[in-house]
Amino acid sequence: MTEARRTVDILVVGAGPAGMAAAVRARESGRGVLVLDDNPAPGGQIWRGGQEHSPSARASSWFAKMAASGAQVIAGARIVDGDAKRQCLTVEMPDSAFEVSYDKLILATGARELFLPFPGWTIPGVMGVGGLQALVKSGLPVTGKRIVVAGSGPLLLAAAAYFRAHGAIVPIVAEQAPVSRLAPFASRLAKHPGKLFQAAALRLALHRSRYRSSCWAIRASETERLESVQLQQHNRVWLEPCEYLAVAYGFISNVELAVLMQCQTGAAGVRVNDLQETSQNQIYCAGECTGIGGVDLSIIEGEIAGYAASGRDDLAGNLFKKRDKARQFAAALESAFALRDELRSLADAGTIICRCEDVTRERLEPMRSWRSAKLQTRCGMGPCQGRICGPILEFLLGLHPESVRPPVFPARVETLLRQEEETRPT
């Protein structure tokens, strides 16, 4: 066991772009900063694997700022509980646990991919788009492998380009959005400084036969190893042989920790004011957990939260205009890649919805609330605690998750016992 208790001025959860930007600005403002992250190294998902795998000038500049800032980073740290009143979090490490008290808390917990079930989506080899990209960044060679990329959003193109650059064959990129929405978005992109590359890539892709709009995966070969995927575009259905299917339908904000800390959330994510303050005193939120907006918006929100949490509202205010622009872009993104209704009927009666507990669609159809789904089918009761199936049930059946109970991640008994001891009056 390491030390059991720590105290810090500003505690940042999440070391992706938003968390790094928040930590850097808070350190510049003279505050002590501790950053906790569940991953083995800082960078979040978009800059996963550090500079080596994210060689953009901006990523390098933030990694350098972060290293020079003097902010302490603890990687591999899992938050299992928290208490907004006592202003502390319980943290589990691979072989120890500790509690950390903060003056201000900045949540930059990011986002995860939205998966929509279809027959065969549980077969090994079917992964998220960012999921497979993360594995490649983690050392998985894909040279010569056939990878079908499907789902929705700009990540499809970026990931396809990444896989190709690593020697993979990407026979097709299947985007569910129709060209009538994508084309105006591509022209709009061109007007955003800094997005010219993406605009060019998207327009090029739209004219390439291998990027199909209004196209999606309807079935993966149902064996124990992926051999092919069935794709559909308009009335045409065909088999595309592949070794990996990378499929995801955009992102879902990671709001679980914020909800546990009793911060209010809206349809998009955690609710924040101009200064990125949540409804809870002393708690700020920045980046994808406030709504999906991409890396530019995440960095700006992180900077604002870092300044504001350090009492530098003046410096935070200077960034509001920049943030407004980034938010407009996020809104355009959302409308271009809005999910079509047909996706709700991809899963048939026997398709598994909850992968932890193997609960099928037919068992969930009669449920009228998330709570009854949990109690009667165990859906959402497994180790992912509804993180994968929760958004699916919301999309398919309109059921909303109600509350988050600790532990927010599966925790060891010793960690929970330690917590009990600490909260007991002495």
Partner: protein, 81 residues
């Protein structure tokens, strides 16, 4: 050239560059089934970022380790299934 380290996947020894994540090493070893689901289905990594728990394996006798979040160590013994 990155430094190479050795570990065993289901008893078979493999060498991977230092810094490789366990999930990647399992796939490099040719295993696609990381665990059996509660109804016995074969499962492998989905999210790649520690959220879905589909890539759980046993590492050095410790069960339920998320292989996508753990970096390979020299001499590590990994079991799937």
């Amino acid at each position: 050239m990155a430094e190479m380290i050795s570990l065993s996947i289901n008893g078979v020894s493999i060498r991977v560059p230092a810094g490789t994540m366990v999930a990647a090493a399992v796939l490099i070893a040719g295993e696609t089934m990381f665990r059996r689901s509660v109804s016995g289905e074969a499962r492998g990594p989905l999210c790649g970022m520690g959220v879905c728990f589909e890539c759980r394996v046993t590492i050095d006798e410790a069960p339920h380790c998320r292989s996508c979040q753990i970096i390979c160590r020299d001499g590590m013994k990994v079991r799937t299934g």
